[in-house]
């Protein structure tokens, strides 16, 4: 009992990676929960993970099966998961088949049988799989409600944490009394979108504590169910206030255009068409960070890490050594059916593992294409959450995005994501004197000055090299088809934009 005399509700580990964070730390002890969802959505596996995470020979689990998967088959399949610990059998888990009493008798007899088994075993965890099957026989609403309430009361008084598993449809939520009685309601959804399976879970209700609202992606692997919180596990993490420190690209002229470099904790977007050097700039950014003792992550979607590192070598940048020294991780994220949340999870794991200060996402287009079609619709929203979460802990993110080269407009990206970024650097081709040259301009730098100059640059064996002068003697550079004016090339230093936007 705490100092205010309130009941302390212990939280039990769910045994499902990522789910504890979603349910607010763990599952309330002695709670009466429902796992609902379609067949194959992972209900039984989730229940088993909870069981294996919490039972002991002294406080075992009772797993009541009813007309569904037999205990033998369940054991045969569930033991394929890595969470399944055979050492916990038979002392800590017992399976009881209630099919006969369900088929031949009424709910009163079912309750009596459960009561007898629970009284004998004193379990910490009780699972009924499937509860839906148990109450399938016609009975009055009152009879069903009475049964559920007596069952819930009995199991709580025996200090058992309970899961009832059932194949429920969402339109039953309003009328079925089981949902009223339950303390916790976990809904597992599984949909097919084009050729991909999209799995999401929702905590519709959880008495006694806050859970993270919304739909959370989950995946079933050989490790069982793994959930990916929409908040990426960073809810409780304190946001790091902006340091104001400038991070160098390792390209002095560009740093000057950025008034000293990118502000630490900013989200930078480099937009340009194919071949303009977005990845080269990104590589130089990450390499310069490593040179300055700032570990980095590169998430690549369009080429293999080895190829990425080899391309850096051709620019005189060594990405092999820092990888071996644990200062750099190049993540290749191209599995099928990837969700943003899973990608984020991989990136966050890598960030936390090496204490990364710089992150490159190369590219957003590749990122989007790597996602399951069902997740692409949420791409911008997910990207927002990702950037917010990562910059909030002080990571500086540089994303590249390919834009279609147009000679009538000057788009920053095809994603309408400029609002997500603090700084935008635009690269493009221009036609000058019979040559296709490259120019760059800083479009935006939230919370800081930046140069207004349009600068020509080249990609050499040393990376991006900004040529000496701003192109003052051309009009209409951003159109890509400039017109030469009589004004000579400027020899002035880059001028800084006087307008300062404040970071919000």
């Amino acid at each position: 009992m705490n100092t205010q005399g309130k009941v302390t509700i212990n939280q039990l580990p769910t045994g499902v990676p990522g789910l504890d964070e979603i349910v607010g730390g763990g599952l309330p002890e002695f709670s009466f929960n429902i796992i609902a969802g379609a067949p194959g959505s992972g209900k039984t596996t989730l229940a088993h993970q909870f069981v294996f995470a919490n039972v002991t020979p002294e406080r075992p689990a009772l797993y009541f099966t009813v007309l569904g998967e037999s205990a033998i088959k369940m054991l045969r399949y569930q033991q394929q998961y890595t969470f399944f610990d055979p050492a916990k059998l038979p002392d800590s888990i017992r399976f009881i088949n209630l099919s006969q009493v369900v088929l031949e008798q009424d709910l009163g007899a079912v309750l009596e049988e459960i009561t007898r088994e629970v009284t004998n075993a004193n379990p910490a965890v009780v699972i009924v799989d499937s509860f839906r099957t148990m109450v399938r026989k016609p009975q009055s609403d009152m009879e069903l409600q009475t049964f559920i309430q007596r069952l819930a009361l009995f199991l709580a008084s025996w200090q058992a944490t309970t899961f009832l598993i059932g194949e429920y449809a969402e339109d039953e939520l309003r009328d079925n009394p089981i949902f009223t009685v339950a303390d916790g309601l976990f809904w597992l959804r599984q949909t097919v979108e084009r050729n991909s399976i999209v799995r999401k879970l929702q905590i519709i209700k959880l008495r006694g504590q806050d859970s993270v609202p919304g739909l959370h992606t989950f995946r079933i692997t050989d490790a069982g169910v793994q959930a990916f919180s929409r908040t990426f596990g960073l809810t409780a993490r304190k946001r790091v206030p902006p340091s104001g420190r400038r991070l160098s690209f390792g390209i002095p002229e560009l740093d000057r255009m950025l008034d000293g470099g990118v502000r630490e904790g900013d989200s930078v977007l480099i937009a340009g068409s194919s071949g303009t050097g977005k990845s080269v700039l990104a590589t130089q950014f990450i390499a310069e960070g490593i040179r300055q003792g700032e570990p980095g992550i590169v998430a690549v979607f369009e080429e293999r890490p080895q190829a990425y590192a080899e391309r850096a070598t051709s620019l005189g940048l060594d990405l092999e050594t820092p990888q071996k020294e644990g200062k750099l991780t190049i993540l290749y994220l191209r599995p099928l059916d990837l969700s943003v949340d899973e990608t984020m999870h991989s990136i966050l794991d890598a960030v936390q593992k090496i204490g990364a200060k710089r992150l490159v996402i190369d590219s957003l287009a590749g990122f989007e294409m790597a996602l399951s079609p069902g997740f692409r619709a949420d791409f911008r929203e997910s990207l927002y959450r990702m950037i917010f979460a990562l910059t909030g802990i002080g990571v500086t993110i540089l994303s590249t995005v390919e834009v279609d080269e147009s000679f009538t407009e000057f788009p920053f990206s095809t994603y309408s994501i400029s609002f997500l970024t603090d700084d935008i650097l635009r690269l493009r081709y221009v036609s000058i004197e019979g040559q296709l040259r490259k120019i760059m301009v800083v479009i935006k730098m939230r919370g800081g000055n930046h140069a207004k100059d349009i600068r020509e640059y080249e990609i050499t064996s040393e990376g991006v090299v900004i040529l000496g002068k701003r192109l003052a003697n051309y009009q209409g550079l951003i159109s890509g088809i400039p017109v030469r004016s009589d004004r000579p090339d400027s020899t002035e230093k880059p001028s800084l934009d006087t307008g300062i936007e404040h970071k919000t």
């Binding site: 205990a71 054991l75 045969r76 038979p90 888990i93 399976f95 088949n97």
Partner: protein, 153 residues
């Protein structure tokens, strides 16, 4: 179903273990019946009567094709055996007979236990099967790495 040699060996050892116990007490049941009964109780406690009964029924059906002397044996509703009591195999008959390849007449009990263990191995895997045996025979030692190495402690 082909019974792995190590399961057959384990069945012999369990029977020998129970037969040895015969010498220190007045057994009310034959050794095969006692081995079967312990397996029944152990698996029923873990997975329920229905689970054991289905395995026992399958094991008996397969064993009958190899041991005609099991023709009168039946599985009761609670999974117990009816009709195996008349087996009067002597303890030393349960010693493994490597290379013999065929069980002798009157070895129906051993064959049945072989099949029960074989099915447990198929459905539950070695780790859980060994745990069940450890539970049922706390005085015996079973090596996880090789079920055939089960031996008395």
């Amino acid at each position: 179903m082909t019974i792995p040699p190590e399961m057959r060996d384990l069945a012999h050892r369990l029977l020998a273990f129970e037969a040895a116990a015969d010498k220190t007490s007045e057994p009310a049941m034959s050794a095969p019946l006692r081995v079967y009964e312990k397996l029944r109780q152990s698996l029923c406690a873990l997975a329920g009567v229905a689970a054991f009964q289905s395995i026992a029924f399958s094991a008996l059906t397969q064993a009958k094709s190899e041991a005609p002397d099991l023709w009168a044996v039946r599985i009761a509703a609670d999974g117990s055996l009816e009709g195996l009591g008349e087996f009067e195999t002597q303890p030393d008959e349960f010693e493994p007979q490597p290379g013999s390849g065929k069980e002798q007449a009157g070895d129906g009990g051993i064959i049945l236990i072989d099949h029960v263990l074989g099915l447990l191995l198929i459905f539950l895997g070695q780790a859980i099967t060994i745990n069940l045996l450890r539970n049922a025979w706390p005085g015996a030692f079973f090596d996880d790495r090789n079920a055939g190495n089960g031996r008395e402690s």
